[in-house]
């Protein structure tokens, strides 16, 4: 169910501006990898290149390669739609579809792709996904109510349920807890811990405690200054990054001395 990600010398450009420079890293299957670093250092941009979501932004382009189990995402003839079916994404702000009920939101990925589902299969999938996202007990009595009626934390878990309903190999999370309260954050962190059994998870976060709590490996990104491209400074086991980093900048950042 989960796949290994390999990134080789990746550069991301917005028009002629180089936003991210020369990233090389490997992400093992069934691990949680956290990206940390100051705002604007290219973490989210880089995360989006892992499922070609950066293409939604006009003028964004990529040089280099991203291999998922050896398949290059940026090879000729690769269909971004097929990439995104394998690499799901959860966004910073919960964004359930406002026209759909909770149930329809979970099934959105399947239904929108015009795949036919029998009613019992659909019900099973809804229950399984909502169980997976730790939301089933809270919403099982109101599956036909609109998703926008849930609280922010519940909406975010609904978005996670929606992402895992299409059974991806990898889940990317772009600051999934930054709009949530500590209790919802805890619920989502527990969920990440469970999802790790089946999926490869990459998470961008500004919360260093969160990175140290949930991730196995941590990557620290930084920029030299405004207008300069973001770079990968250090990538190692989370314990190493937080207790014994090799680069001075990493140590300064995780200990709160700058940024």
């Amino acid at each position: 169910m989960s796949k290994r990600i390999e990134v080789n010398d990746l550069n991301v450009y917005y028009g002629s501006f180089r936003a991210v420079e020369g990233i090389t890293l490997e992400i093992e299957p069934r691990t949680v990898t956290a990206f940390i670093g100051p705002s604007g250092c290219g973490k989210s941009t880089f995360l989006r290149t892992l499922n070609r979501m950066h293409e939604v932004i006009p003028g964004a382009r990529v040089e280099g390669e991203v291999l998922i189990d050896g398949n290059n995402l940026y090879g000729p003839g690769v269909d971004p739609v097929l990439v995104r079916r394998q690499v799901g994404m959860v966004f910073q702000r919960p964004n359930p579809f406002p026209t759909m009920s909770i149930k329809e939101n979970v099934l959105a990925g399947v239904r929108l792709n015009n795949r036919k589902l029998s009613k019992s299969d659909a019900d099973d999938l809804v229950e399984k996904s909502l169980q997976g996202a730790n939301l089933w007990n809270e919403v099982k009595d109101r599956l036909d109510r609109p998703g926008s009626g849930l609280s922010g934390g519940q909406q975010q878990r609904l978005c996670i349920a929606r992402a895992i309903a299409v059974s991806p190999e990898v889940i990317l999370m772009d600051e999934p807890c930054s709009a949530l309260d500590p209790i919802s954050t805890l619920a989502i962190e527990d969920l990440i811990e469970e999802l790790k059994q089946e999926y490869t998870i990459v998470i961008v976060t500004h919360n260093m405690q969160q990175a140290s709590r949930v991730s196995d490996k941590t990557a620290f990104f930084n920029i030299a200054g405004t207008g300069k491209p973001g770079k990968l400074i250090e990538y190692a086991d989370t314990t190493t990054i937080f207790s014994n980093p090799t680069v001075k900048a990493t140590e300064d950042y995780v200990s709160g001395r700058f940024g």
Partner: protein
């Protein structure tokens, strides 16, 4: 602590209450503004009544009301400045100006509605909705042929304009890039300014060329002329509605591996459908009252005609126009029919707006709270 209870601390020194609050300010009594307004109106009315009696001319109600409102603005400003201070005085003055502007904008609307209803009611009967004008001279007859014509032609125009307009808007918002997009936007803006008579002449020239008949008259031509006027309105309103759909929803859909076209059909359009329907209804209301283009290409007739592609077709605006312009010997019968026609047209537009409200309410995203 003693600071808060000593009455001498009140800034104006006028405070007489048991506890002086440094946050209080002078205040006009409740309804003071209303009484000042009524007083001013009474003063100017009295003045103009005396003037009318003295000069022997009629009482000038418009001047009385206008000068009364102006007087109110001055009096309330002075009063408020004395009692409440400059900031409140400005607020009172601007409130008076804004309310006056609103009333002025509302007056013609009320006047039109009142006149149309008052004059249209006499012939607003069953016969009016069940008979055409075939072989009717003088009193009697109805506008069924015109109502049918208006519904058929406007419906056809909507059938042409909505797909073209909506798809153009989707192109502009979701796909358009660079020069082509700006070119289309520019020409759509230009098209909104086309005089309706030009649209009529365009349709007439088009069908005269196609059929080789220099005197061509047909309902479909009218529908084409109306859609020329309607398309830019549909494009503009749908474009604005599509732009309102948050990009996050599109991204959420893409991230689920949904192709772009399905994202548009199943996420973007359902989210914005309420606004799009409202826009289409506004566009219909904009063209349903057009007279000039229909006079040229659809012509006028006294008989029923259900066939859009053959022969002259009557429409309500043209019906009103012909009844008023070609009055027979029984002048009042023709004028009554014209007013009833106008009333019917206004009611159709009102009805369409109500339907649009209901439909957009049904389709709009539910909050679920």
């Amino acid at each position: 602590m003693s600071l808060t209870v000593t009455p001498q601390q009140a800034p104006t020194g006028r405070s007489t209450g048991p506890i002086a609050n440094t946050l209080t300010a002078g205040k006009l009594p409740r309804f003071a503004a209303l009484w000042v307004l009524l007083g001013c109106l009474a003063v100017t009315t009295a003045f103009f009544v005396i003037l009318a009696a003295a000069s022997g001319t009629g009482f000038n109600i418009a001047a009385a009301v206008f000068l009364g409102v102006v007087l109110y603005g001055i009096v309330i400003w002075v009063l408020s400045r004395v009692v409440e201070g400059t900031r409140k005085a400005k607020d009172r003055l601007v409130t008076a100006l804004v309310s006056t502007a609103f009333t002025i904008a509302l007056l013609p609307l009320i006047s039109v509605a009142y006149t149309t209803i008052a004059n249209g009611i006499p012939r607003f009967d069953v016969q009016f909705f069940s008979e055409s004008m075939r072989n009717v001279v003088g009193a009697g007859g109805g506008a069924l042929h015109a109502i049918m014509g208006t519904l058929l032609i406007t419906g056809m125009a909507a059938l042409i304009s909505v797909p073209v307009g909506l798809l153009t808007a989707i192109y502009l918002v979701e796909y358009g890039r660079g020069k082509l997009k700006h070119g289309i936007t520019f020409f759509v803006d230009v098209m909104t300014g086309i005089p309706s008579i030009v649209a009529g002449l365009f349709a007439f020239a088009l069908f005269a060329l196609f059929t080789g008949d220099p005197g061509i008259r047909m309902g479909f031509g009218g529908a084409v002329a109306l859609s020329v006027l309607m398309i830019p309105v549909v494009v503009r309103s749908s474009e604005e509605m599509l732009k309102l759909v948050p990009n996050e929803l599109r991204e959420a859909s893409y991230a689920l591996g949904v192709p772009k076209w399905l994202t548009i059909v199943k996420v973007v359009l359902p989210t914005s459908i309420a606004g799009i329907i409202t826009g289409v209804m506004i566009a219909i209301a904009r063209v349903i009252g057009e007279t000039a283009p229909l006079l040229i290409i659809a012509g006028f007739t006294t008989s029923m005609n259900y066939n859009l592609f053959e022969g002259r077709m009557m429409t309500l605006p043209v019906f009103v126009y012909t009844q008023y312009m070609n009055q027979g010997t029984d002048v009042q019968a023709y004028i009554d029919r014209a007013w009833a026609g106008a009333l019917t047209l206004i009611l159709i537009v009102a009805l369409l707006n109500i339907v649009a409200r209901v439909v957009s309410k049904l389709f709009s995203p539910k909050t679920g709270r």
